[in-house]
């Protein structure tokens, strides 16, 4: 299996490290769920892996080369993002957003070549929103907006996709649809996907592999089954559940 991403002794945070050293890796075609309660550092890890903030220590390598040795403009062909923040311009069309994913591959005048056009059409098709291409982005539902941002990531044509809380505002059917799309991308297009979520139910049922985080705890990796059997899920999520979510039951 081809190794896409690897961290060694990575320390993340702003000035002070949030977690002990992280040494993990992603292989081609993996779908890995980054799980942890709110405030455990999921977003910070995402921002660090996507070169938005610098690590405090340690090393991140993509395809065997240190992230630091890639130029910022090379990042756009290595990994694409699906974020919780969404465009809010009233006149932004679905097609405009998805085709913006192609910009790094285009010249000064951003003229779309036939192969770009067909890639855009294919990506809209893959996530099932071809019929929405002319719609205004802000008029779509949360689930549809999420698919637009995934189509943008596909058009960008990167081997690695980071999705920060992609299921956050979705209803249950949309969550299942999202998981199906992710599986399709990994099987048919050999994409490697790292996504974060604090929706434990969804993760335990549908993730192949998980990275589990909790404040000041070491990051642990494994399949949902392994992590449950080793008691890690209990240990990492229970304190939060016991302390906050069910206080009214005591």
């Amino acid at each position: 299996m081809k190794e896409v991403l690897k961290t060694s002794k990575l320390l993340i945070g702003y000035k002070k490290a949030l977690l002990p050293e992280i040494s993990v890796s992603l292989n081609e075609g993996d779908i890995v769920a980054l799980a942890g309660p709110n405030g455990s550092g999921k977003t910070t890890l995402f921002k660090t892996l996507s070169a938005n903030i610098k690590p405090i220590g340690g090393e991140i390598s993509l395809f065997g080369k240190s992230l630091r040795d890639y130029s910022p403009s090379e990042h756009s062909s290595l990994f694409s993002l699906v974020l919780t923040e969404k465009p809010d311009d009233l006149f932004l069309k679905v097609f405009d957003i998805v085709s913006a994913g192609r910009y790094p591959h285009l010249g000064l005048l951003a003229k779309l070549k036939p192969e770009d056009e067909s890639l855009i059409a294919e990506s809209l098709e893959t996530v099932g929103i071809s019929h929405l291409a002319d719609r205004n982005f802000v008029s779509l539902s949360d689930g549809e907006q999420q698919k637009v941002m995934i189509a943008k990531a596909l058009v960008q044509d990167t081997p690695l996709i980071f999705m920060d809380e992609p299921a956050a505002f979705l209803d249950y059917p949309s969550k299942i649809e999202l998981v199906n799309i992710m599986h399709k991308l990994s099987r048919e297009k050999r994409k490697t996907i790292l996504f974060s979520s604090h929706d434990l139910d969804l993760l335990l049922r549908h993730a192949d592999k998980m990275w589990v985080m909790a404040p000041q705890q070491p990051l642990r990796q494994g399949t949902p089954k392994e992590l449950v059997e080793q008691g890690i899920i209990d240990a990492y999520f229970k304190p939060i559940v016991a302390k906050e979510e069910f206080y009214w039951m005591k």
Partner: protein, 346 residues
């Protein structure tokens, strides 16, 4: 965009043709009524007539100035609105026009008071002096903003810095006004109302070149501007160097504002209003279309306002600033109400 159903090129062509008609009307109509026969004679070049002097030496430079200022301010406003992702942003946001007001205040009020020189409205020296002062003030603020922008992390802090600079410049200007002579104050107030008639044919090539360079540079930024609409992190992932791009956008937008404010005074409203009209008319936020559309619409609106400001019945010009707001505000209100309707139904 390939998938757009609106006849974009027809609308764009219509706007340009409207601009040509408005330009011709700017030459044709004014406080002095010129008979048609004399009008054609003057245009075809019969020397020495008074009418020719009015048209060629007065109305023509005024129309060209209005056209250029309309283009420059509107594009500059669009750049600010996209950079700060704020529909209320306009060219004055970063305090550049306040800087030029301060420059003019120094020359008109202080030099007038101390040196006993009265800057009356008509003399050539005073026009040149005022332009130069406005220029120095505007570029001083622009350089200050650029220097500070490299040290600030967020766009919001940058806007706050701009607003603070505007306040400081504004209050110093007020203090100067408080201590100044009546005549100086009068010229300063007149300058503040804005005018398209201060650019003579000798300065015109410089003014035209500067605005054209600014407008063209804005167009070259359209990819960056489109990506910024997605949000900073998406833009960054798609290859935009946020810090360098913001500085470049501020430089281009600020340069246009500084040049136009120096020559025409602080013209309000065009920069705020026109981008909204363009977005609504073309139903797009794609800057590849939006920048030319905004430029041509700005040209039309400025020419129209200039025409209104010297309707035949008025003796002399109405202050252009009051006219731009008077005409622009209802248009923006109309757009806002239709936009609300639009986003609900789509």
């Amino acid at each position: 965009m390939a998938s757009c159903k609106r006849p974009i090129y027809l609308i764009l062509l219509g706007i340009v043709i409207l601009g040509v008609i408005l330009f011709a009307m700017n030459l044709r109509y004014g406080s002095v009524a010129i008979p048609w026969t004399e009008f054609w004679a003057a245009l075809s070049g019969s020397q020495g007539s008074t009418y020719r002097a009015i048209i060629i030496e007065y109305r023509l430079p005024q129309a060209i100035t209005a056209l250029l200022a309309g283009i420059g301010l509107s594009v500059s406003g669009l750049l600010m609105q996209t950079l700060f992702r704020n529909p209320l942003a306009d060219p004055s946001l970063l305090g550049i026009s306040s800087g030029s007001s301060l420059g003019v205040a120094f020359v008109v009020l202080v030099a007038g008071g101390i040196g006993g020189v009265t800057f009356n409205t008509i003399s050539l020296w005073s026009t040149f002096g005022i332009t130069l002062a406005a220029f120095v003030g505007a570029f001083a603020v622009l350089l200050l903003i650029l220097a500070l922008s490299s040290r600030l992390k967020s766009m919001v802090s940058l806007v706050l810095v701009g607003i603070m600079i505007a306040y400081i410049a504004g209050s110093v200007t007020d203090i100067l006004k408080f201590f100044s002579q009546k005549e100086g104050l009068h010229s300063f107030v007149i300058w503040g109302m804005g005018s398209f008639s201060n650019v003579g044919m000798t300065q015109m090539p410089f003014f035209a070149l500067a605005v054209m360079v600014g407008a063209f540079a804005s167009f070259l930024l359209f990819k960056t501007l489109n990506l910024l609409l997605l949000g900073e992190r998406y833009a960054e992932n798609l290859g935009v160097n946020i810090k360098r791009s913001s500085m470049l956008i501020i430089l281009v937008s600020g340069f246009l504002t500084a040049i136009i404010t120096a020559f025409c005074g602080p013209i309000a409203f065009l920069g705020l209003a026109v981008p909204h009209i363009a977005r609504f008319l073309f139903q797009t936020s794609d800057h590849k279309l939006l920048i030319p559309a905004t430029a041509f619409l700005g040209m039309d609106l400025a020419l129209f306002c200039n025409l209104i400001s010297r309707l035949p019945s008025f003796d002399g010009n109405l202050p252009i600033n009051s006219v731009t707001a008077l005409i622009g505000a209802p248009i923006v209100l109309w757009v806002i109400f239709h936009r609300q309707h639009y986003s609900q139904t789509q």
